[in-house]
């Protein structure tokens, strides 16, 4: 686990030995995590790995089985949600259907007793940030998915919380809108400077938006690091195969191909396909070709049935023919040992 603390940064959230069980199910197991002020931290993991549960415990919706949570250095383990200085953007947005957009956004301020004029002021400003001026008097059911998402964001941001928790906020949007919102979310985060803890199971979303990524598997943290660290130096075979696609060699295969025992990862973009028979490398036949638009993924099979994936730029695709015998070549430093 590589966790590089920026020396100057202060800690916004600390999770200490946090554990949560639902009956027999262990949802979160001994999680230790520090979130720095102002950073964009993403919790990434497959379905059921405990991301939402962690978020709900930080928000205060779920009690811990054991361990503790500190917000700004203060233990909030037993503090109810409405007394915590964090706000949440829910996956289903959870907008109040009987209130207008403006009333939704002002709700948190109203509850805290902020005066009417200031409320209106802050709400208008935040409507501008999320580009929803002119939608103030609509009801949530008169908005599109993307607009609802932005209202949910505005409703949380207007309270100027120390930390904003977002649980797959873009999950319900189509691909195009999702990519637009990713850029928008990131730029809003940089503008307002609030700490974002972002949950997703989409690895490309995690890599493109985050300052740091926490990879979860089965309730445990597999690795913490910058997107680059996570992708280029995966600590475990789980991280290597979950973040991006990769070729994993272990056991006899590793001995045979890498020449050492252990588990090794090799990204497909580092595998080159050569048809020069004098090249030394792994010989394999082209078994299938997946066209991906910008590039193609070529699946190769060796004669003892080992499968290796290589990425090929489309301009070279014409040379790759199904069933052809090829030599697979890679640089030694493209191979990483993982645990």
């Amino acid at each position: 686990m590589t966790s590089k603390a920026k020396p100057s940064s202060t800690i916004a959230i600390s999770l200490r030995e946090v554990r949560k069980t639902f009956g027999e199910v262990v949802a979160v197991d001994s999680v230790d995590l520090d979130v720095f002020n102002g950073e964009f931290l993403t919790l990434l993991g497959p379905s059921g790995s405990g991301k939402t549960t962690v978020l709900r415990m930080v928000a205060g919706f779920e009690a811990l089985t054991s361990g503790s949570i500190l917000l700004d250095g203060e233990d909030v383990t037993g503090v109810p949600a409405f007394e915590r200085d964090v706000n949440t953007v829910f996956q289903d947005y959870a907008l109040f259907p009987h209130m207008t957009v403006l009333e939704n956004i002002e709700y948190g301020l109203k509850v805290k007793g902020v005066a009417r004029d200031e409320r209106r002021n802050r709400a208008t400003k935040i409507l501008e940030v999320v580009q929803l001026i002119g939608f103030a008097d609509r009801k949530p059911n008169q908005l599109s998915g993307g607009q609802r998402q932005r209202v949910a964001l505005a409703r949380a941001l207007v309270n100027q919380p120390k930390v904003l928790l977002l649980d797959e906020p873009l999950g319900a949007l189509d691909l195009k809108l999702r990519e637009e919102m990713q850029v928008e979310l990131k730029s809003i985060q940089q503008r307002v400077g609030i700490t974002f803890v972002y949950v997703t199971h989409d690895q490309s979303e995690a890599l493109s938006m985050s300052d740091r990524v926490v990879v979860f598997n089965a309730g445990k943290i597999e690795q913490i690091g910058t997107p680059q660290e996570i992708y280029e130096h995966p600590a475990t075979s789980f991280v290597a195969s979950f973040v991006g696609i990769t070729n994993l060699f272990s056991g006899d295969r590793a001995q045979q191909i890498i020449g050492r025992s252990g588990t090794f990862t090799l990204r497909p973009e580092h595998v080159q396909i050569s048809f020069d028979s004098s090249q030394t490398g792994l010989s394999a036949t082209i078994s299938s070709i997946q066209y991906l638009g910008a590039e193609s993924r070529v699946h190769c099979t060796t004669k003892d049935n080992l499968k290796v994936i290589a990425t090929v730029a489309n301009e070279h695709l014409s040379r790759v023919v199904l069933g052809q015998l090829a030599t697979l070549v890679w640089k030694p430093d493209a191979v990483f040992e993982v645990s």
């Binding site: 928000a59 205060g60 919706f61 109810p80 949600a81 409405f82 007394e83 964090v86 706000n87 949440t88 829910f90 289903d92 959870a94 907008l95 109040f96 259907p97 009987h98 709700y107 948190g108 509850v111 805290k112 409703r155 949380a156 309270n159």
Partner: protein, 300 residues
């Protein structure tokens, strides 16, 4: 051989019927629904129309039978007579009071069962509340009569008199309590399912934005329950407004619209009785209109 051909012909016939209805979907639906629609038209709308029309009939003083000499005298009488108007107002008051009691009880009970009770206790509690629906109306009314019996020099008091030494006796208070008891499940059920339909995340969101549970209850839950409350109140209000048996059993000398209608009908003055029924019909139409505005029919 011949057998197979005849079955083939039969098969062919049903096939062509199927095809006919498949290509004329409206006709198919019409055939399917014609029975229920006829039933509704004749039995429901028809009888109601007849009732309204007969309110304009005259009365043969000697035979006590309705005549077709049209008159608006009956209508005039039930509107202008102040004693009748008082009776109508009192009936509205009783039905309203029973409705309010049902609401005040159903809200916390529905909240508790839906949001706080353990999953295993939930079903049991809901069944326990709905169970009285399966007991007869008269059984329950007489059971409460035994509870409210004030007692006299000729007989012992009922349950309340014997246990706490006090009883509301037979009168409007007992009528209201009994009606509220009888119709409570009809208020409980929509409110409970309203709570069930309320997304958990809205409650989380409210608390996330700093609202305590009381604030969340009144700012988020209650407004979203208005349609459910309106739907429930339609049942409790209309069932109470039209009641006349409960009044007879626990009401002592009390009277509601239903009692006047019954008395006039048995007088016999069928046209005047019909004219009286226009009161509850009008009140309910107005009530339904207001409740529809509150969204009572949104979740049907």
């Amino acid at each position: 051989m011949s057998l197979s051909t005849s079955s083939q012909i039969a098969k062919h016939k049903t096939q062509s019927i199927n095809r006919f209805f498949a290509s004329h979907p409206r006709l198919g639906l019409g055939t399917l629904l014609s029975g229920p629609i006829l039933w509704l038209l004749v039995v429901y709308v028809g009888s109601l129309a007849l009732l309204v029309v007969s309110a304009f009939f005259g009365l043969d003083e000697f035979t006590g039978k309705a005549t077709t000499n049209l008159t608006i005298g009956n209508i005039e009488e039930v509107i202008s007579e102040s004693a009748y108007r008082l009776l109508v107002l009192r009936s509205i008051g009783i039905a309203g009071a029973a409705t309010v009691i049902c609401f005040m009880l159903a809200l916390p009970v529905g909240f508790y069962i839906s949001k706080l009770a353990k999953p295993w206790a939930k079903r049991g509690l809901v069944v326990a509340i709905l169970l009285p629906l399966w007991a007869g109306y008269l059984v329950k009314a007489f059971a409460l009569r035994a509870v409210f019996e004030p007692g006299s020099e000729f007989g012992d008091g009922g349950f309340l008199k014997n246990t706490i030494g006090w009883s509301p006796g037979f009168g409007y208070l007992s009528v209201i309590i009994t009606l509220a008891y009888l119709w409570f499940p009809y208020m409980f059920l929509p409110i409970y399912s309203g709570f069930e339909r309320l997304p958990e995340s809205l409650i989380d969101a409210s608390s996330d934005l700093g609202a305590g549970s009381i604030r969340t209850f009144f700012s988020v839950m209650m407004p979203m329950l208005v349609p459910s409350i309106a739907a429930g109140s339609i049942f409790t209000f209309s069932l109470s407004l039209g009641d006349y048996i409960t009044v007879k059993i626990v009401g002592g000398k009390s009277q509601m619209i239903g009692n006047i209608i019954e008395r006039t009908l048995l007088a016999p003055n069928q046209p005047l009785a019909a004219a009286f029924t226009l009161w509850p019909i009008t009140i309910m139409v107005a009530y339904l209109f207001v409740m529809a505005r509150l969204g009572a029919f949104k979740n049907l």
